[in-house]
């Protein structure tokens, strides 16, 4: 059962991810991206990581996607897409070649990873590791320092965003 579900979800994930790249309309791309996120959340549920599944939906499908949609709707993407089509074919070729080479290198590096060698036999797989309670314990013991540093990072990012976006009296919109 879980096997079949996995293959189904994997198929949906890959297909919708390809559609993100290939669809002409940016709004359609974003909608396919939401579908991708939902199917990835399904994968998390299969892996017994419910918390991660929910967070994935809230953060990615909820917050980040809404942001993407806003940006796409505010900026007129149609003219930008037409500009991109006019761009030099040579640059496109260079992009395809260099990203293709990178893909080849990454895949050939990943193929060499021997997964079986790295799973230590003594460290038995804990199926409950994705539960909220276990995750919380991990987060507030082993990963306490990174957790707190993330909050510092968010303060800095937030203050900066407010600073750059804030308009003074008499200052006019740049657009």
């Amino acid at each position: 059962m879980a096997d079949k579900l996995f293959y189904f979800l994997a198929f949906v994930t890959v297909l919708s991810a390809l559609m993100v790249v290939f669809s002409k309309n940016p709004v359609h791309s974003v909608l396919y991206l939401i579908l991708t996120f939902f199917s990835i959340s399904g994968q998390y549920v299969i892996l017994n990581a419910q918390f991660l599944a929910v967070v994935n939906i809230i953060v990615y499908a909820g917050a980040i996607m809404v942001l993407f949609l806003f940006v796409i709707m505010f900026l007129n993407m149609r003219t930008a897409a037409e500009d991109a089509r006019k761009r030099n074919a040579l640059i496109q070729l260079a992009g395809v070649i260099s990203s293709g080479l990178l893909l080849t290198i990454v895949i050939s590096a990943l193929v060499r990873v021997d997964m079986a060698a790295h799973i230590a036999p003594a460290k038995a797989l804990n199926t409950q590791v994705g539960m909220v309670e276990n995750l919380g314990i991990e987060l507030f013991t082993n990963f306490l320092v990174p957790f707190e540093l993330a909050s510092v990072l968010f303060i800095a990012a937030m203050v900066g965003a407010v600073l750059l976006a804030k308009r003074e009296e008499g200052e006019r919109n740049a657009f």
Partner: protein, 486 residues
């Protein structure tokens, strides 16, 4: 309830070793309290009060609080070799505050937001030096990066916003690379703690090709902060648009911090795969050559300085090819030489109002401004590495390190690195001596018929800057003659 409070007390007590950095972060928030108006005029006293937390930090770490044990479940450690990197990072962060007057920070002078970002950037740099875990390292570098983006954009005009956004976009790409590389390392080794024996074991077991790939991705994020070759493109743009104190900060402090990080990170990787030094060597060589060649063709001195820091980043990477005692002391010495000379040049360019000059505008200036031109000459000679300055000893140390590596490993790679570094040091002569050449050898007004607009030269120089410049010159010249410490 009481039990919980007790547990909390015990848990918090475990973090007492990190108190100076936590205090710095808390104090940095104070600069946000006075108000959040954009470009608000402030009393310069606020600018100089930034020195208090920095001085406190240096005092605490220098005298007492450098504890040997790790904390935060192995996330933070205090290795002896990091201590000097830490002190240099904090100490050099104080120099832009002293060396530039409040008016150099922007149209309206120093603002409170700049104070906040300045302190949080320092905190990020210092935490990255203390991190023993890749995730902590990543977050610390991100804190440093985010603060740098906003500092770079903090002149609050159109150019500055554009430069800041470009910096932000490139930085995001670099940080994504780094995070992906960290996830690879985690997958390969099963631990994020790079001081753990399991980390080295895991690297040894994995295929070297995979480790190289992961390492290249991680190096992406680090070379971005170092402004070394593959991700150096932001440098010239930021140098042009950012306020000069920020430029001075960005050209030294992140570099020192990242070199300290590499000094902690690389030994573990060298133990697993000794050939990795070639990768670092290629990065160093590419930065030296690319930085030099692009610096040669620039029209503006400030852009030349920007690309010259790229090549200097390459030189700073050379000692990392070997982990010996000599390499360590050479790296520290070269950091001192580079930082002081670089600060000196930027301080003079800003305080005399020469930031946006072209080279030809310096023609004949030695007659009118003898002392600043002499000071510039000393700093440029140190950056090239010519004899009457400490820079010569720094460069000589680099070649000694390469010779030592050649003898130890019998690898001609070190030999070629040495030859190329020497040739490039000669190339650096041409662009570093361009300003002194114009000032001394060209008659004044030689190119006045060109379209260069005459810039008014500010007569009001900032007096602490002159004292600083004098101190730097004394260190750089006396250091050459009194060199028993090397």
């Amino acid at each position: 309830m009481q039990e919980y409070i007790q547990v909390l007390g015990v848990e918090l007590g475990k973090f007492s070793g990190l108190l100076p950095e936590l205090l710095l972060l808390i104090v940095s928030l104070l600069w946000l309290l006075p108000g959040f108006s954009k470009g608000q005029k402030t009393n310069p006293i606020w600018l100089y009060s930034l020195l208090i937390p920095i001085a406190g930090l240096v005092y605490l770490r220098w005298f007492s609080a450098w504890k040997g044990q790790s904390l935060g479940y192995g996330a933070i450690h205090f290795p002896e070799t990091s201590k000097y990197f830490y002190l240099f990072t904090a100490g050099f962060a104080a120099i832009p505050i002293i060396g530039f007057a409040s008016r150099s920070w922007g149209k309206n002078g120093f603002t409170f937001q700049q104070g906040f970002f300045y302190l949080s950037a320092i905190a990020g740099a210092l935490l990255s030096l203390l991190s023993a875990q890749l995730l902590v390292l990543y977050l610390a570098i991100e804190i440093l990066s985010f603060s740098s983006y906003f500092l770079a954009a903090s002149a609050l005009n159109k150019n500055a916003s554009e430069g800041g956004i470009k910096y932000l976009l490139q930085g995001s790409a670099a940080s994504a690379c780094m995070l992906y590389g960290i996830s690879w390392l985690y997958g390969i080794t099963g631990t994020l703690n790079f001081t753990h024996p399991l980390f080295i074991e895991g690297l040894k077991m994995a295929s070297p090709f995979t480790v190289y790939m992961a390492l290249i991705l991680v190096l992406g994020g680090i070379t971005f902060k170092l402004s070394a070759f593959p991700l150096h493109v932001w440098v010239s743009n930021v140098y042009e648009v950012a306020p000069m104190p920020v430029v001075a900060f960005l050209s030294v402090v992140p570099k020192v911090a990242m070199l300290g990080v590499l000094w902690q990170l690389l030994p573990a990787i060298y133990q697993a795969i000794p050939q990795v030094y070639q990768l670092i060597g290629w990065v160093a060589m590419a930065s030296i050559i690319v930085g030099n060649v692009t610096a040669l063709v620039q029209k503006l001195p400030i852009r030349t300085m920007a690309y010259s820091t790229v090549s200097q980043a390459g030189y700073l990477l050379l000692p990392l090819l070997s982990g010996s005692e000599l390499a360590y002391s050479t790296l520290l010495a070269y950091i001192i030489v580079y930082s002081l000379a670089n600060f000196g040049v930027l301080i003079i360019l800003e305080n005399y109002g020469w930031k946006s000059f072209t080279f030809s505008q310096f023609a004949g200036m030695a007659k009118t401004h003898l002392w600043p031109m002499l000071a510039l000459l000393v700093f440029f000679l140190s950056l090239i590495g010519l004899p009457p300055t400490l820079g010569f000893l720094g460069k000589a140390g680099l070649f000694l390190v390469l010779a030592e590596g050649f003898q130890a490993l019998k690898s001609t790679f070190y030999l070629w690195m040495g030859i190329l570094a020497l040739l490039n040091a000669a190339v650096a002569l041409f662009y570093y001596l361009h300003i002194p050449y114009q000032a001394w050898l060209k008659p004044k007004g030689f190119e006045t018929n060109s379209k260069v607009p005459e810039m008014p030269i500010s007569a009001k120089t900032w007096w602490p800057a002159q004292i600083l410049v004098a101190i730097f010159i004394v260190i750089l010249v006396v250091g050459f003659f009194w060199n028993s410490w090397l």
